[in-house]
């Protein structure tokens, strides 16, 4: 029992706590707002506002990722066709296997 508990704690500490805290804190704020905002219309307007804010942050983050990667782009490009192969493999294989396993599971 102690072994299982210590193993669990090790895994949980390995997980980035800041990410989990940010997600849970956000959900709690959302839940409180959901109960506080009395009218449906007001709730929808606020949901739309949060959606736009999240979208802006996504754009900002994608721009910053580009900026960060530009610092190592010559190094990445020097790897040649291996990079293209890695991109295609990492995108296609997990996607395809997800589809195959879902098909097998849901069909049964």
């Amino acid at each position: 029992m102690n072994y299982v508990l210590s193993k669990f704690l090790t895994i949980m500490l390995g997980v980035c706590l800041e990410v989990v805290i940010a997600l849970v804190a956000g959900m709690l704020v959302g839940l409180v707002l959901n109960k506080t905002l009395s009218s449906e219309r007001r709730n929808q307007r606020f949901t739309s506002f949060v959606g736009k804010l999240t979208l802006s942050l996504t754009y900002a983050l994608v721009f910053l990722i580009g900026l960060r990667i530009s610092q190592v782009l010559p190094d990445i490009l020097s790897r040649g066709q291996h990079v293209v192969l890695a991109l295609l493999a990492f995108s296609a294989i997990p996607t395809l296997l997800s589809l195959v396993i879902s098909y097998l599971v849901l069909r049964g």
């Binding site: 994608v62 910053l64 580009g66 890695a86 996607t95 098909y103």
Partner: protein, 197 residues
């Protein structure tokens, strides 16, 4: 939380960042990227909290189907990471698993892995953007034939960016399942990816 932006607009922002970095000496620290990412995750949490009624009511309708679909998407993505690692031989197995465990959430996976190594961030970001692109292209072809199982193509994007495509091709039932599938994956990815690295 239907966000009507496509992969093309995001690619524009990504390329703009790349060009800005190449043309100027402007850099970005990992700490700053991390803070922006945490703000985004907080925003996603608020959106989910605001839509909790919708998530709960739709979950009740298709609990078992939704659970099976979520587990199949996670299993398929992780097995995909292992297969890719054995095909390419790099990066390390745990990073290969983390890249594939992004399941379409490119902003999170890209930023998180860029904090470890910018090359991993590059792979994590672009391979997950491509997953979204594949969903746009293949769902209209597969959605009618394979029905609900093809929802797993989109991974976490099925609750926002690819939801309109899924709903228009598969109908409202598929849309409901896709929303629940994407919402639960969005909750799980920030736990799975850091746990793997």
């Amino acid at each position: 939380m239907i966000e009507k932006f496509g992969a093309s607009t995001l690619t524009l922002f990504f390329v703009a960042g790349l060009l800005t970095g190449l043309a100027t000496d402007v850099g970005v620290s990992e700490e700053f990227l991390w803070v922006v990412l945490l703000c985004l995750i907080f925003g996603v949490g608020v959106s989910m909290g605001l839509e909790v009624d919708r998530i709960v009511s739709t979950s009740r309708k298709r609990v078992f189907q939704g659970l099976k679909l979520i587990l199949a998407t996670i299993t398929g993505s992780l097995v995909g990471g292992v297969v890719t690692y054995f095909l390419l031989g790099e990066p390390a197995l745990r990073y290969s698993l983390a890249i594939s465990a992004g399941m379409g959430w490119y902003s999170f996976t890209g930023t998180y892995l860029a904090g470890i190594d910018p090359y991993l961030g590059f792979l994590g970001y672009l391979s997950n953007v491509l997953r979204e692109v594949y969903t746009y292209v293949t769902y209209p072809l597969l959605g009618k034939k394979l029905r609900y199982s093809s929802i797993s193509l989109g991974g976490a994007t099925t609750m926002d960016t690819t939801l309109p495509v899924i709903t228009s091709v598969g109908g409202p039932e598929a849309g409901v399942l896709a929303f629940v599938h994407g919402a639960f994956l969005t909750l799980l990815i920030p736990i799975i990816v850091p746990a793997l690295t």
